[in-house]
Chain length 263, copies 2
């Protein structure tokens, strides 16, 4: 690409983004993390320099990618010598405005994906959402993003936080429900693996038909006896019972009339 970048943060997002940038030919000049382990592991993988000291962050890179945790962004920016650098954060819920106090040239590159250190992600399929402070900033970001993925969108800060909330529902909350299901299965006992064909089909269906229309199960059928039976069986775990009750009510309320369909 011809741009030199510095990665500020070496967590899940930072690691996967750095790898993908590196693969696309971007020059990763340095990795900063307050964790020596995280910084050094990522830097070694990319054959580049690393530091745990903000004072040692190199001053002459084209782009500074911020992937530190949302709630430490401001303390970090206040402590680091990054005035008037081209800053880019990768957060769904922070605004572009959050960077404006520190520099005039800035942007956001938000990859809509869940990253775990131990899993490879094909970045070329990850939708990436851009926002920027100027045409020049936009030009740099678009070139960097085009090297990562074919799915580049523009989104302002309000759109992005809505997108983040939708992702919290479709990913974080969904994963929590998987976790609840796994804990219930342990009790039988059965391995979570037995649910995989079902959760795969649920997901695949959502990809091709409106999930609202795809809703099945006791709640949408308003099958009171079954719901009652499930509530009784969950009495020994009141927090799960409450979750079941609330989600059932919510489904029931959203679907005004009972819809046919069997689980």
């Amino acid at each position: 690409m011809g741009f030199s970048v510095i990665m500020l943060g070496a967590g899940n997002v930072g690691t996967h983004l750095a790898r993908a940038l590196h693969s696309s030919g971007t020059d990763i000049r340095q990795v900063y993390s307050r964790s020596e382990e995280s910084a050094s592991i990522l830097a070694r993988e990319l054959h580049t320099a690393w530091t745990v000291r903000t004072s040692e962050i190199l001053p002459d890179a084209d782009v500074y990618f911020l992937t530190v945790k949302d709630d430490v962004l401001h303390p970090f920016l206040k402590s680091a010598p990054l005035e008037n650098k081209f800053l880019v954060h990768c957060s769904g819920s922070l605004s572009l405005q959050d960077l404006m106090a520190y520099t005039s040239e800035c942007g956001v590159l938000y990859p809509l994906q869940t990253f775990s250190r131990s899993r490879n992600v094909d970045f070329s399929e990850v939708p990436v959402f851009l926002e920027y402070s100027s045409e020049r900033a936009g030009s740099v970001l678009k070139q960097l993003a085009a090297g990562l993925t074919g799915r580049v969108y523009l989104a302002d800060s309000v759109q992005r936080v809505k997108l983040h909330i939708s992702a919290v529902f479709a990913c974080n909350f969904v994963n929590h429900l998987y976790s609840v299901a796994a804990s219930l299965l342990k009790d039988i006992p059965l391995d979570f693996e037995v649910l995989v064909p079902l959760i795969r089909e649920t997901m695949q269906k959502a990809g091709v038909m409106d999930p609202f229309l795809a809703q099945t199960g006791p709640a949408v059928r308003n099958d009171k006896e079954i719901i009652q039976k499930h509530m009784q069986l969950l009495a020994s775990t009141p927090d799960l019972q409450e979750l079941y009750r609330m989600l059932t009510e919510h489904i029931h309320n959203q679907h005004k009339r009972p819809i046919h369909g069997i689980f």
Copy 2:
């Protein structure tokens, strides 16, 4: 297989089960449904007879598969001439006992999958859970199930209802969260398709690592500012705000200490 069966019910489960039994060489003698349309469509597809009258249900089949809705099973069985037939229901939450008042020879064949009429399902990957009243009943059910899938398990009525509850969490409730996410995206506006790589990765991760350990997002990080921001943005939809609050609290409570990870 050499067994003749009659399908009592032609909804989503009945249709997919009948197709799979037919494919495995089982003789579907007749389809009963109170809906003429459902009965005739399925029967024509399987080149067999159909009826909407309980009095016309043929008396001499080896097995009678019940896929009527859970809450009409008893009214249906009281009205149909099925005394002492080999009855098999396919419900997660009804017990074997539910059939005992009508016959001595009975069983349960519960396929753990979500079925929509418009989607083909590869039955050979569907886990099927059996319960039966006698060794003879078990022998027939096992032979029928073996023709459907390689994934045959035994589960008693209590295990099966737990399994059903876990499936409600992992499928019905998950689908509802997809539906919530889709409604939030409409507001941006963005198509649900943009979330597909994220939900696919969330699902694939759950297949290979403990979903509890795979949890990411603001709730498990206890990122109060982001949670606050999301709650504010959801203020115009109080029901979604309440769902967000409750799921966030539940995740937070289950994970005693904050776990690192970025969305």
